[in-house]
């Protein structure tokens, strides 16, 4: 079986979301770099893979996909059985519903609070020498505190977000949280002991440790 291809850069948050799933199921994959400097993401070849001109894109034989969460679901569905992992819980309606709720929570509650902090404090300064929009960061920190209040309560009841089992919902938090920990706002987690313990558990997984080595701006 040919390795699947992930088009993008290893340090990209949304690329890493797919890579952590590939690592967890032990699938063979190759990362095909996209040269943003050369505007390769807007080339006809890449737009054919991702019409929004973004990364990641993904290829498995004839299947070409984009949107990291869709790619991740595909990967987890394809390889979970042979890998002996069950990160979507699709055989159990109640568990799958919990995974889906917390996957949406990451996308609709957590990410909108964390992503701007990461972009303003880390990515924009590193890539464009842009100054930090501190007002935006402060607003997002307040949003994030409210989100973490809910996470702390949830993780007081269960060891992972969807229940007492690791799932895609937890893994989906890896990339942006990895970068949040490289900003001054890492210390926010000190006020949320269960969230902090949950994060440390995720970060110490072999998949996360392996990918972290290539994740810096």
């Amino acid at each position: 079986m040919a390795p699947v291809k992930v088009f993008g850069l290893k340090m990209s948050t949304n690329v890493a979301r797919v890579l952590v799933c590939l690592e967890e199921v032990g699938a063979e994959y190759e990362v095909v770099d996209i040269d943003f400097q050369a505007k390769e993401h807007k080339s006809p070849q890449h737009l054919a893979r991702n019409p929004f001109g973004q990364i990641p894109a993904f290829q498995d034989g004839d299947v070409v996909l984009f949107e990291s969460r869709a790619i991740s679901r595909y990967v987890l569905r394809k390889y979970s059985k042979s890998a002996g992992v069950d990160l979507l819980r699709e055989g159990n309606l109640e568990e799958a519903a919990a995974v889906d709720v917390w996957t949406e929570v990451e996308a609709q509650q957590y990410n909108p609070a964390v992503a701007p902090i990461v972009y303003e404090c880390l990515i924009h300064p590193a890539m464009f020498g842009a100054p930090t929009n501190q007002k935006l960061v402060d607003e997002c920190v307040e949003k994030l505190r409210k989100v973490l209040d809910v996470y702390e309560a949830r993780l007081s009841e269960h060891s992972y977000l969807a229940g007492d089992f690791l799932s895609f919902a937890d893994l989906s938090h890896f990339p942006y949280t990895h970068y949040l920990m490289a900003t001054p706002y890492a210390s926010l987690f000190d006020s949320y002991p269960r969230v902090k313990a949950w994060w440390q558990g995720l970060a110490s997984r072999p998949s996360a440790k392996k990918l972290s080595a290539d994740m810096s701006f």
Partner: protein
């Protein structure tokens, strides 16, 4: 079985997203009002259903769920009657579910808020916000136009959850001065005309209490 309860305001497009799915599956449900204007969504009774204090939430027997897209996955998975909303193979369907969430929604939602909801609350649309999101939504819909020239529905030949998840906001957009974003794109328009004519959706919109002027 206890009746299904959909918590929220009947006008809220995220609530209507779920109502549309329930109606496609022919399921009975009642809308339990949670009036955002009185802060009901931040009261302990509602936070017990959705700790993030947002509508909708769905109670289906013992199951309590929130996040409209997760609720719709649950409905599509649990109930086998009516159209198959999450058929397999599903890779393309999953892509377009995410496109709705990360490309369409971030721009259509603020547009609908500015042009429809804010005026209902006695406020005025902010033209800078409207122009920014209309411009971005236009670029997104250009991608849809190309895609729908090759595909009758977003996931291919059949109506799926990917199409359904767009309908509540497409309906609200059609009630604003930015309806032309859809009307001016022949394949997007044809797709919208087709899916909005579905009997289940006609039933869904009949229940939305739009003010007479809308």
């Amino acid at each position: 079985m206890a009746p299904r309860k959909l918590y929220g305001m009947p006008l809220s497009p995220n609530v209507v997203r779920v109502a549309a799915a329930l109606n496609e599956k022919g399921l009975d449900f009642e809308i339990v009002p949670v009036d955002l204007r009185t802060g009901a969504h931040k009261q302990p009774e509602f936070l017990a259903l959705n700790p993030f204090g947002q509508i909708p939430a769905l109670q289906d027997g013992d199951e309590v769920l929130y996040e409209s897209r997760a609720i719709n996955r649950y409905i599509a998975t649990k109930y086998t009657e009516g159209p198959e909303l999450l058929p397999t193979p599903s890779a393309k369907l999953e892509v377009w579910l995410e496109v709705e969430s990360h490309h369409f929604y971030p721009h259509v939602s603020p547009l609908v808020f500015q042009l429809l909801i804010k005026p209902m609350l006695g406020g005025a649309a902010d033209p800078v916000v409207v122009d920014k999101h209309a411009h971005e939504l236009a670029r997104v819909l250009d991608v849809y136009e190309t895609h729908l020239a090759q595909n009758k529905y977003l996931a291919g030949d059949a109506f799926t959850l990917a199409d359904l998840n767009h309908m509540s906001y497409l309906f609200c957009l059609s009630k604003t001065p930015k309806a032309d974003l859809v009307a001016s794109r022949p394949h997007v328009k044809a797709w919208w005309d087709d899916i909005s004519a579905r009997p289940a959706f006609q039933k869904t919109v009949a229940a939305i209490p739009f003010p007479p002027s809308a």
